[in-house]
Symmetry: C2
Subunit: 341 residues, 2 copies
């Protein structure tokens, strides 16, 4: 089976954006606050909204998408912490409904109500709710809830530890994924996402987080940002900084996904990153939806690239497509096994 | 001949750091300000200080290094604008002396007295001094003088235009290079540098800078950050944003260097980036000075990687090693031709 571990719900019915408008308008004028968190979206509308994803699964031959709210929509830096908590619940509940309606096609990953300056521990109630009550198998964790100004501490700071303890206890991995950027220097999908991936990896290299949390698992999306392209630099920096080899220091706990939208990138990745650390993903319908004139195929049809890499054995490909995901997301593995998949 | 376009003076005599200490101590206590900008460094000490670079040129077979002050030392965000102006002069003067003492081995690139919030036009006097009076062939330009908080405008903002006009008038390219990071999220050589490279490229993709400045040339160092690894993403984003193809939109004006410290990275780069846009560089003595246990050679001996790429013709390699640098740095080309090189 082929598990795509990185899909965001980017085809939401318009009621979700209308709700968000009311939420934020409510800061200026409390009379405009949404009267209810019931968006008035019926099951049929929800099913209709994910038809593009289902079609792509079929066309491209993937079986299951690990599905989370729109990354740029999380916008932790917008509004107040209370607004963010309500917003996270609403977004997560939609994901839960989709995954309940289409359990063969989607598994749920949630957003956390992070807020700039607020303790990450404040996210624990929503984390427990989505995992224990709703059956989510992972979460997205932003290393920069400030939205592009990076005013918080690195991921290795002890303020994150209560949240990490809970992630370990619940056996859910975190995908390290920023949201939109309110900094005009950083285009969200063209700079902020890549930078966050690179930054997170370097923070992990500098720190000793996995000595304290040997069972914590992070997924770094978008192929790990700049990291595989500069793998020699990172190996060399670890060496200069007297860190253990990356294989021991971070690669027991970190996975990179395959959201790299051309064959040479995926080829490089499979050359330098151990096959056990690569998770298949396409981020469909994501940042780059067009057709590559050089190939005639969609840029984000990443399965084609993985299939083309000759140096991968069948067993390697099975790890990338399925085995590693079952290892990174143990709750997903158990859910699948319970259904005989 | 082999031109290494990216070397920083990282082996400065201790008097330079002592001067900087006095400069910054002088903010707290004016009595500690340096009495003179004469560092008391004799020619012999200067020559001695660059012996490591000369040895590496010889060992690795490069002929000329384009040499600029230590990048992390620029620290535009530290002190006051007046201190930065003095600091730039002192650093640039040292580079000038080295290039005058060893004109066969070094060509000079300068640092600019950028300061957070100050108009980039304030750098023009120092730019004119180093190019017109001292014969510098390029400058380093930081896209983030705030040192990791990115509080200024993007490179496409019109506030940069007076500086760009002068760069074009003087026929000098700018290497887009940040300095140290005072943001604990960003390790300087492991995150801040890579992020700045990626960010700068995306800003150029979003904007239309080279329509306004068709003769402006930027060098994006460290292989262009994450860009070549994600070349499909950038081609796809340009397409979605209805920008012209990258070949027309930015690649007539932008060069990437080869400071990528493993063979697979250089191999990827030569596959996706047009050969006319690649400049040989090693950044010796730079971020990664160790020996790669996988090869037994220095990580930053990038010439080995370029030599190994079988798909490059002799003519391609000549472009990467020399021809493109002469095109990107026309003042260097003229200086070399005047000496019959």
């Amino acid at each position: 089976m082929i598990i795509d571990i990185h899909g965001h719900y980017t085809t939401e019915p318009p009621q979700l954006a209308a709700f968000r408008d009311k939420q934020l308008a409510g800061i200026a004028d409390p009379a405009r606050r949404p009267a209810t968190a019931d968006l008035g979206i019926g099951d049929e509308q929800l099913l209709k909204s994910v038809e593009p994803q289902l079609k792509m699964q079929k066309d491209r031959g993937s079986d299951l998408t690990i599905f989370s709210p729109r990354a740029s929509g999380m916008a932790h830096h917008v509004g107040t912490e209370a607004i963010g908590i309500q917003w996270s619940r609403v977004c997560n509940d939609l994901i839960h409904r989709i995954c309940t309606l289409l359990p063969e096609n989607f598994a749920a990953v949630g957003q956390l109500p992070q807020f700039p300056g607020a303790p990450p521990a404040n996210c624990i109630p929503e984390l427990e709710r989505i995992v224990k009550e709703l059956g989510f198998v992972g979460v997205n964790l932003s290393p920069d809830p400030s939205g592009g100004y990076w005013t918080g501490p690195p991921l290795t700071d002890r303020s994150w530890y209560p949240l990490y303890e809970k992630l370990v206890e619940l056996e859910v991995p975190a995908m390290i994924h920023v949201s939109s950027s309110c900094n005009p220097n950083f285009h969200f999908t063209g700079a902020h996402y890549m930078n966050a991936d690179t930054t997170a990896f370097m923070q992990l290299l500098q720190g000793d987080l996995f000595r304290d949390f040997p069972a914590l698992r992070f997924v770094i999306p978008h192929g790990g940002g700049a990291v595989p392209f500069h793998w020699g630099r990172y190996r060399g920096l670890a060496q200069e900084m007297k860190r253990p080899p990356l294989s021991e220091h971070v690669m027991k706990n970190v996975f990179f996904d395959t959201c790299v939208y051309h064959y040479p990138g995926i080829e490089l990745m499979t050359k330098v990153i151990p096959v056990d650390n690569i998770l298949f993903a396409s981020e469909m319908l994501g940042a780059v939806k067009g057709i590559d004139p050089e190939t005639g195929h969609h840029y984000d049809d990443t399965r084609r690239y993985v299939d083309q890499v000759k140096s991968l054995s069948d067993s390697d490909r099975k790890k990338i497509f399925e085995g590693n995901a079952r290892r990174a997301y143990p709750r997903l593995d158990r859910q699948l096994k319970a259904k005989g998949r």
